[in-house]
Amino acid sequence: MSTTNPIRDEISKAISEHEVILFMKGRPEQPMCGFSARTVAALDALGTSYAAVDVLPDPRIRQELSAISNWPTIPQLFVNGQLVGGCDIVTEMYESGELAQTLGIVPPSEAPEDAPVASEPGAPPLQIKNNLA
């Protein structure tokens, strides 16, 4: 592995050091994209703990991540160093029970059968000034 690319090295290190790590837009408590929000909601419904990396602060994070994972979109969930998938795959796996299996956990009894629909992404609502009144 080359060490001339510190961002890529940091990402690889983060993936190898965390059993479950989610690269997403925004933070779990405030996702900035519906797909990231949905993925967070699925993980949270299973009550699993995970590391999260916000890719938004620097576009190079996303670029280097995609180069490592050969996966073009965000979010990306890794378990034990392996790419599990993005929102679509995580959602499908939640509903089939494979996600809990991959995470090595038993879903809590209150976990919904269908993947939970995420609340709206955390961007502040547009304030439109009404000048017609």
Partner: protein
Amino acid sequence: MPSTDDLKQRIEAAIPGANAQVIDLTGGGDHFRAEVVAPEFAGMSRIEQHRRVYAVFGTDIGGPIHALSLVTKAE
């Protein structure tokens, strides 16, 4: 701005025997959902199936196509 027909045609042209149903999620021409059925997906993992479809669009994903949600099946 890509249309649902563009996406459908590109997928079906690139993946032999594929059938693609594409919808525009927002009406804005940049967030799409595609259901793709293709014989060659048999024996491929979901990750590989999705990579195959993403590869059809290369750097258009994240460019003109902001989001492409996928459901893939072998049949």
